[in-house]
Each structure stands twice: as structure tokens, then as C-alpha cells.
């Protein structure tokens, strides 16, 4: 599989791979050889070194060995400490081959020194074991054993591996770099050859030649390729010549063939055309011989309502009403035919179902010189056209009547020339012109000079049905009339025209103008009267204010003195006198109350309003404080929502509203049940609704509006005391706050006063 993958690689890649793998193998081999030699050398060095050490120590130990001084020997061995690689060492005596001294770099009791062996150096488990015979002056003195760590060997090996790795990597890069350059020496000419061959197979131009300076195999390849191409190009030229000859012959043949085919085709086509014309023509076509139908198309049958079998071979007599008609047609047609070669006649025919149809029959001889070859007959059904003509005539009559007898003036004018083409009788009567005069006039002639140009401009732009607007026309007697016109497109006598319907609005116009004049006078009168009323009202208000104000002083005198009189001189009066005195005092108290209320009422709106955000709960709290004692005395329940909104308003107005309403509730309470007063609020899209609810005597529906008027009372002073000003004050105060107040009540159950106030402009009126 892999071989195939390699096989499909580009030649560049192959070359690079070959060079690289060869270099890689060579480098690996070299490195392996180098490392093994190096390691062998190192091993040898290690051995030599170890042997030297053994010999040196051995020589030092000669005397102790010979004389059996183990202490001395141990002392010498201990000097091995300065050679860190030596792990263990021991000396064997000459006489008994016993160990007389030993050394361990790191004391390890488990280590057993080996028994004496012959001279040898052994590598084992990362250590070098040396048995060395000690001789001194050719005398055998004993032997030494050294165990030396071969860690240097391992280190060296690892170092070698690392260096080899780096070398291989670097070489890999260099070889890759060089090989990818050098491969071009081979790949470029081959690729060029491939490219040329590819171009050849496309262009088929074998005249190109390859040039290569070298004399190597590629040079030969190029040469061979050139030779091949030369031969091919020679063959090609020969082939081209032969082909050219062949082509010429072929073309001639082809032209001849095409012409013949074309002729055949044309013939076929014209025959086909005629056949299809015969079959598909929307007219009846038939071939007649001796006035017999020898061949007919389907439309012929369709027009006459027969099947083909019913007609073929039959005389045309059966198609006519009677012999006379048949003979007349025969005579007309065949006589006419002699002069022109074609003739046609209009006639009526009978269909198979007996209905009559109008047709135009046209005949022509099939062969001009030979009448016996038969005639081609064509029937054209014109029944529909005939009927349409009839319908049109009737319709035209109807519309003519509509136009001429219409009670509104109408005219028809030419779109292009503006000539008047028709007018109805009413028009003539209304305008005073004669019919002939009008027909000689054009449209602008009817208009006063200042409108002539405008009407022409406008008339040009009018399309379909249009309301043209208000204009003026001049009648024959010179009088001007105001008209409104509606016009529409119309085809009249084959021309593009417009028909116009004219309504004379001169009288209506006059009436309108009069009404307008009257209206203007009326408006003026109303404004004048209103101003008068306002000023009177103001005067009245200030008058009533000053009256009530001025009345207070004398009233106080009456009240004061009558009280003094009643207190001090009561005893000197008889019973009747005392009663009168009480009346005076009582009346003056009521008078005082009345005047105070009146003053309050008239003061409303005299002061400028101080509008600012106010908490309704706070206001009601202060109002409640005034009423607290009275409400407790009558054991009334007073319930106020905690979340009444903060609204923008005038404090004194609001106080007056609530004071009056609570006062009202107290006054008109029922005596059999304890009074309950509730104040609630609702936020609605238009603002706030405040509801003051009581369970008093209630108000009948017919008085719901009346109660808000000043001095209106429903009850006698004796039954329910009051001045009749309180609710009027409430209404005025609410309207000053741009609100409205109304009442909802059930007699015997209680009343609800509802105050609608607009939303705050600055605040959202969230409950505080």
C-alpha cells in the first residue's frame, strides 16, 4: 500500500525523499560506528585507568602484603577514597589467598567480597571488576580486587545519543534544504517534458522543439522526444492535406444534400400549411363540384350543425330556405366569377336544427383555366356581427333619447379641436343659442374671457370621469351663470370626445352668500352680548362680595345688641317679647352663617391659585381635626384610605371642598343609624377619582345636578339647617382645579360625591 502511495508522489517529493533517506541511513550508520568506537575507546580507557589504579595500589601494598600487615594494607586502601569511582576494593595475601584488607566507599555489610580470581577485568551490572596480581621484582606478592563504577560510560553514552540526535536533526534540515534545491536539476527538465507533452495533447501543435544543454540521459530523452515530435508533425501535415481534400468533397456533397432537403421541406411545409389551414381555419372551407360538397372542413360542419357524413356528396340546395334563393345565389356567384375569378355573396342558410344563420359565401375556381376541377367555397358566419349591429343600434337610440331628453344641459365636444358636436334641447333652451349657432361654436366660446385659457388647459388634462369644478358660462343674452360640470370620455361619431353634464348653481350660490352674511352678523352680536354679560357678571360678583362684606358690620351690631338685650333685659320683656327676641338672635346667627358662606363662595377664584403638590391625606387630617369633636359626639365613623395620592392643587380650595362635603354628610345624616363617612381614591387614565361616601338620607336622582347650584336646598331649614351655598362652593372650587364633581346616590342609603381631578403635570401622583 505504502509503495503505491510513494508511487503517486510528485517526482520532486520522491527525489527529496530518496536523498533524505539515503543521507539519513548514512548518517545513522556513521553515528552508530562512531558511537561504538567511542564507547569501545572509553571502555578501554576505563580499563587502562582501572588497571593503573590497581597496579599503583598494588605496588603500595607490596610490603604490607609480604609482611602480612593488614593495618597498613587497610590504610593504603583507605586512600582510594580520593578516587570516587572506586566502590569496593580488597587485597588478597600471597600465602593463603585470603583477604587481608578491604575497603568500601559506602560501607555495606551485605556486600561479600569475591574470592580471588585470576587476572581479569570484567564489566558487570554497570561496574568494572578488576582482579590484578601484584608482583614485586618478579615475586608474587598477592592480588587486588577493585570494583569501579562505570557510570562515566553510561554518561558518555547518553551524551553521545543527545549529540547524535542534534546532529541528525541539523543534518535533516540541511539535507532537506539542499535536496529540495538539487532535486530541481532532475525534476525541472522532466516536469518540463511532462508540461510540453500535456500542452501538446491539448494544442496538437507538434512543431515545438525542446532545448537542453546537457548530454546526460535527459538530453537524450529530449532528443528522442524531439525526433518523435518531428515524425508526428510530418504525419500530421500529410494527414491534414488528405483531410482537406476529403473535407472539400464532403462539403460539396453536404451542400447538395441540404438544398435538396430544403426543397423537400418547403414542399412538405406548404402542403402541411394548406392542410392545417383547411383543418383549423375558423371559417368553413369546402370544395364544390357541380354545386355538390365533395370535401369540407370541420368548421363548415360546425357552422351548419351537420356531421361530415351528412354533407359529403350532397347538393348545396339543402343549405338554403328555398329553390329561389339557391338559384339566385348560383346565378350571382357564377356570373360574378366569370369577370373577377373570385366572388362572394351574403345569404342566409338553414342549420340542421332549423335555425337561420347569416353567412358570406365566397367561391373561387381551384384551377383558373379548368372550371370542371371544382371550386373552393368559404362560408363565413356573420350572424354574431348582425346581432351586435342590431343591439348597437337599439342602445344608440336609447342613449340618444337620454341625451336629448335630459332635463340637465349636456354637450359633447371634440377633445382635440374643442368643437361642440352635440347639445341637447335643454341646453338650447337654457342658453338661448340656436342649434346651428352652437354647432358652429367651440367650447371656450361659452366661457367669459378670463376663464377661456384656463378651461382649455384643464380640458386637455381631463381623463375618464372627472368633476371639473365650478365655472361661469355666458348665455346668448350676455348674462353670466355659475355652473358645476362633470365630464367623461366618449367616442362619438368616430372621434375622441368628452360629454359634459352642466348644473346651473347660480341661484344656490346667491342663497349661500346671503346665509354667510347673516352668520357674520350673528357672530358679532353674540360676541358683543357675551362681553356685556361677562362685565355684568363681574360687577355682580364684586357687588355681592361688597354687599355681603358690608352687611357684616350692621349684622354684627344687630347680633351683638340683640344678644345683650336678650341677656340683660330679658326679664323686663313679657313672654311674647322674649320669643321675638329669640327669633331676632336666631335669625342673625343664620344671617351671619349665610354671609360667611357667601363670602367664601365669592372669594373663590378672587385670589390667585397657589398650585403645588399636596398630600390629600395630610389635608384631610387637618380638616378632620376641625370636625373631630362633632363627629365623636354623634358617634360617627370616619374612614380614609391611607394611600390617597399627592396631587397638584391649592390647599385652601381643597380644604374647602372637604370641609363642605363633610359638613354636608353630617347635616344630612340619618338619625336612626350612626353616620359613616369614607374617603377613597382611584387612579384612572384621566387622572384621579376621589370618592366621599356617606350613609345619609340620600338625594333623589332629579336633584343630582340641582344641588350644586347656589341657594338650592331640598329640605326646609327646620328639617336640615343650611345655607345652600356649600355644594356650590365645592363645585366652584373643583372647577378651579380643572376638575369636575358629581353625585351618585340612593335615597335612604347614602350618597357618594365623586371628584375627578386631572393628573399631576410634574409628578406621577404615586401614593405617598
Amino acid at each position: 500500500m505504502k509503495r503505491f502511495v510513494f508511487k503517486n508522489q510528485a517526482i520532486k517529493t520522491k527525489l527529496v525523499l530518496i536523498i533524505m533517506s539515503t543521507s539519513f541511513i548514512a548518517v545513522i550508520a556513521a553515528l552508530i560506528t562512531y558511537i561504538s568506537f567511542d564507547m569501545a575507546g572509553i571502555k578501554n580507557d576505563l580499563k587502562k585507568n582501572a588497571l593503573l589504579n590497581a597496579e599503583l595500589v598494588g605496588q603500595y601494598s607490596v610490603a604490607p602484603l609480604l609482611f602480612g600487615y593488614s593495618d597498613e594494607a587497610r590504610d593504603i586502601l583507605s586512600k582510594l577514597y580520593s578516587i570516587p569511582d572506586i566502590q569496593d576494593a580488597c587485597l588478597y595475601s600471597a600465602l593463603s589467598s585470603e583477604i587481608i584488607a578491604s575497603y568500601q566507599k559506602t560501607p555495606d555489610k551485605s556486600f561479600v567480597f569475591p574470592s580471588l580470581q585470576n587476572e581479569s577485568i570484567i564489566f558487570s551490572k554497570g561496574y568494572l571488576h578488576i582482579y590484578h596480581v601484584i608482583t614485586f621484582k618478579e615475586k608474587y606478592c598477592g592480588a587486588i580486587y577493585l570494583k569501579i563504577s562505570a557510570i562515566a560510560l553510561k554518561d558518555r553514552f547518553q551524551k553521545n545519543l543527545l549529540v547524535s540526535g542534534i546532529i541528525i536533526f541539523l543534518l535533516f534540515l540541511i539535507v532537506y534544504f539542499i535536496s529540495s534545491r538539487l532535486q530541481k536539476l532532475i525534476s525541472v527538465p522532466i516536469l518540463k517534458l511532462a508540461e510540453v507533452s500535456e500542452n501538446l495533447s491539448i494544442s496538437q501543435d507538434f512543431s515545438n522543439r525542446l532545448y537542453y544543454s546537457g548530454n546526460d540521459e535527459i538530453g537524450i530523452l529530449y532528443q528522442q522526444f524531439d525526433n518523435l515530435m518531428f515524425q508526428i508533425s510530418q504525419r500530421q501535415i500529410e494527414r491534414d492535406i488528405a483531410e482537406a481534400k476529403l473535407n472539400t468533397t464532403n462539403e460539396q456533397l453536404h451542400i447538395e444534400l441540404t438544398e435538396r432537403k430544403q426543397r423537400e421541406e418547403e414542399l412538405k411545409q406548404s402542403e402541411g400549411t394548406i392542410r392545417s389551414l383547411f383543418a383549423a381555419a375558423p371559417v368553413g372551407i369546402g370544395i364544390l363540384k357541380d354545386r355538390k360538397q365533395t370535401s369540407i372542413n370541420s368548421y363548415w360542419c360546425k357552422i351548419l350543425g351537420y356531421t361530415e357524413e351528412n354533407l359529403l356528396g350532397k347538393s348545396t340546395r339543402m343549405l338554403y330556405e328555398n329553390d329561389n334563393e339557391w338559384n339566385r345565389i348560383g346565378e350571382v356567384l357564377y356570373t360574378d366569377l366569370k369577370g373577377k375569378g373570385i366572388s362572394s355573396v351574403e345569404s342566409r342558410m338553414i342549420r340542421s336544427d332549423g335555425t337561420l344563420i347569416y353567412v358570406i359565401l365566397t367561391i373561387a375556381p381551384i384551377q383558373q383555366d379548368n372550371p370542371s376541377s371544382g371550386y373552393l367555397g368559404i362560408i363565413h358566419d356573420i350572424t354574431g356581427r348582425k346581432k351586435a349591429e342590431e343591439a348597437l343600434r337599439i342602445s344608440e337610440e336609447r342613449y340618444r333619447f337620454l341625451f336629448e331628453q335630459n332635463p340637465v344641459p349636456m354637450l359633447i365636444y371634440d377633445r382635440n379641436t374643442f368643437k361642440l358636436l352635440a347639445i341637447n334641447e335643454v341646453f338650447i333652451n337654457h342658453y338661448g343659442y340656436s342649434s346651428d349657432e352652437l354647432l358652429s361654436m367651440s367650447l371656450p366660446d361659452l366661457y367669459p374671457p378670463e376663464e377661456k385659457e384656463r378651461i382649455v388647459e384643464l380640458a386637455k388634462t381631463l381623463q375618464s370621469r372627472a368633476y371639473v369644478g365650478e365655472w361661469h358660462h355666458i348665455r346668448k343674452d350676455g348674462s353670466v351663470i355659475t355652473i358645476i360640470v362633470t365630464s367623461n370620455d366618449l367616442e362619438y361619431m368616430g372621434r375622441e370626445c368628452r360629454i359634459a353634464v352642466i348644473i346651473d348653481i347660480t341661484d344656490r350660490k346667491k342663497a349661500e352668500e346671503e346665509i354667510q352674511k347673516l352668520n357674520q352678523t350673528l357672530e358679532y352680536n353674540v360676541a358683543e352680548r357675551t362681553a356685556q354679560l361677562v362685565s355684568i357678571n363681574k360687577e355682580l360678583e364684586s357687588f355681592s362680595y361688597s354687599i355681603s362684606h358690608d352687611l357684616r358690620a350692621p349684622l354684627r351690631a344687630i347680633f351683638g345688641f340683640s344678644q345683650i338685650l336678650s341677656r340683660r333685659h330679658r326679664e323686663s320683656l313679657n313672654e311674647e317679647g322674649r320669643q321675638y327676641m329669640d327669633y331676632i338672635v336666631e335669625a342673625s346667627v343664620r344671617m351671619e352663617q349665610l354671609i360667611n358662606d357667601l363670602l367664601n363662595y365669592s372669594r373663590l377664584g378672587r385670589k390667585s391659585l397657589d398650585m403645588r403638590p399636596l398630600s390629600l391625606n395630610k389635608i384631610i387630617d387637618t380638616v378632620y381635626a376641625d370636625f373631630k369633636q362633632r363627629l365623636e359626639e354623634i358617634q360617627a365613623r370616619f374612614a380614609v384610605d391611607n394611600d390617597l395620592p399627592v396631587i397638584s392643587g391649592d390647599e385652601s380650595l381643597l380644604r374647602q371642598i372637604f370641609t363642605n362635603l363633610i359638613e354636608n354628610a353630617i347635616t344630612y345624616r340619618r338619625n336612626d343609624v350612626p353616620l359613616e363617612i369614607g374617603i377613597h381614591s382611584e387612579t384612572v387614565s384621566e387622572g384621579y377619582l376621589l370618592k366621599i361616601v356617606d350613609n345619609g338620607i340620600g338625594i333623589p336622582r332629579e336633584y343630582w345636578e340641582k344641588i350644586f347650584k347656589i341657594f338650592q336646598r331640598l329640605h326646609s331649614e327646620e328639617a336640615y339647617p343650611g345655607t345652600g351655598i356649600g355644594l356650590a362652593t365645592v363645585k366652584k372650587a373643583v372647577s378651579l382645579l380643572n376638575g369636575t364633581v358629581w353625585v351618585d346616590s340612593v335615597v335612604g342609603q347614602g350618597s357618594t360625591f365623586i371628584i375627578s381631578l386631572p393628573p399631576n403635570k410634574n409628578q406621577n401622583g404615586k401614593p405617598s
Binding site: 603500595y60 604490607p64 600487615y69 597498613e72 580471588l116 580470581q117
Partner: protein, 203 residues
């Protein structure tokens, strides 16, 4: 020892009868040991006796010591050890050096009672004697190239070159290095390292 070796060989051979050469190469260790054993055959018979050790010590000492030049004639190929006075060796010396060479020369043992009988020799062994006797001997020798070895500790200081003494059951040496060097001897440092160096004390 011999018996043990023979037994060993027999056991080995019984176990693995093979060609002799093969056997030698395979058991080189053993062969070496046997050779060494034969080489030091005398040692095998004298395990502990003090004078056997001392007798062998002559040969060992001479390994480390070079006699002054011209000590040995070209013709004279004998190494003469002279034992003065009452010999403590018995026949040990003859047995040890029978057929054995020191410094590549055959060894001849001479016993003398009078110093005036001193032949031409390389080693003079002096047993435990009185100090004034020693003085006579030293005067007699008078710088002749003879290695004087005394069997008494302290004699080296008295003028002998080497004296034997025992320490921890081992034979040790006192060496009068200066005296020896001035007499033309060279001593290997290896010997000096394991010996006690003393100087002549003049009385």
C-alpha cells in the same frame, strides 16, 4: 594442602572429565593457586614458628634493598647469609633456601662463632648478644657492604642496619636509614613505609 588440592582436582575431574588443556584453561584460578602454593612451598610447612618467618624475611627484605654497587662479583653467583654466634634457626635456613635464590643467586648459609671468621657475605644475622660484643662486630665490619640484621630491638639504633622485633605477633623491622644509606645501600620506600626508622645514637 597437597591432599586438599588433589581432592579438589579429583572432585572437579570426576564431575567433568575433560581434556587436560581444557581443564587448565577452565580452571586457571586453581592452577595459579597451585603454582603459587608450590612457589612458596616452604611457607606451607612453617605456619607459625618465629624463625621460619625470620628466615623468609631475609629473602623478602632483600627484595626492597639494593646492595652498594660492586658488591657482587661477576663470577661469584652466591648470596651468602652469615649467622653469627648461637644460631636460633636450626636447619630452617637450609630448608628454606634449598634450591631457592635471592637476587637471582643461589643462597649459601655460613655459621660463624668468631667475627674474624666472617666470610665475604651479603647478610650478617646477629642473634641476641651483648652490646659491647656488637660494637666489636661493627668495628670489624667497618663499612663493608654487608646488611647487618639483628635479632634484638634497639640494635638498629646501636649501629645495626635492621633489627627484628615482634609486635602483635607480627615480625616488624627497625631500620637505621641514614646508616644504611651512608653505607651505600638503597632502600625501597615501600619497606620504609612499613618499618620503624631509627637513627644511630652515639654512646
Amino acid at each position: 594442602m597437597h591432599v586438599w588440592i588433589e581432592n579438589y582436582i579429583q572432585i572437579k575431574m570426576r564431575k567433568k572429565p575433560a581434556h587436560t588443556i581444557h581443564f587448565l584453561s577452565e580452571h586457571f584460578n586453581l592452577v595459579l593457586i597451585i603454582l603459587i602454593a608450590f612457589f612458596f612451598e616452604f611457607d606451607l610447612y612453617s605456619q607459625t614458628p618465629e624463625y621460619e618467618v625470620k628466615a623468609v624475611a631475609f629473602e623478602k627484605l632483600s627484595l626492597f634493598i639494593d646492595w652498594p654497587p660492586n658488591t657482587f662479583n661477576e663470577t661469584n653467583d652466591q648470596f651468602v647469609i652469615t649467622v653469627f654466634g648461637q644460631s636460633p634457626f636450626g636447619n630452617i635456613l637450609e630448608r628454606v633456601y634449598n634450591g631457592h635464590k635471592i637476587k637471582d643467586k643461589t643462597v649459601k648459609i655460613v655459621y660463624i662463632k668468631d667475627i674474624r671468621d666472617l666470610p665475604e657475605c651479603q647478610i650478617l644475622f646477629i642473634p641476641e648478644i651483648k652490646k659491647n660484643e656488637l660494637k666489636d662486630i661493627l668495628d670489624f665490619i667497618n663499612n663493608k657492604p654487608i646488611l647487618i640484621i639483628a635479632d634484638k630491638q634497639g640494635f638498629a639504633e646501636a649501629g645495626c642496619f635492621i633489627s627484628f622485633y615482634n609486635y602483635e605477633d607480627k615480625l616488624h623491622f627497625e631500620i637505621n636509614q641514614k646508616a644504611m644509606e651512608s653505607a651505600g645501600f638503597t632502600i625501597d620506600y615501600k619497606l620504609l613505609r612499613v618499618s620503624k626508622i631509627v637513627n644511630t645514637t652515639i654512646e
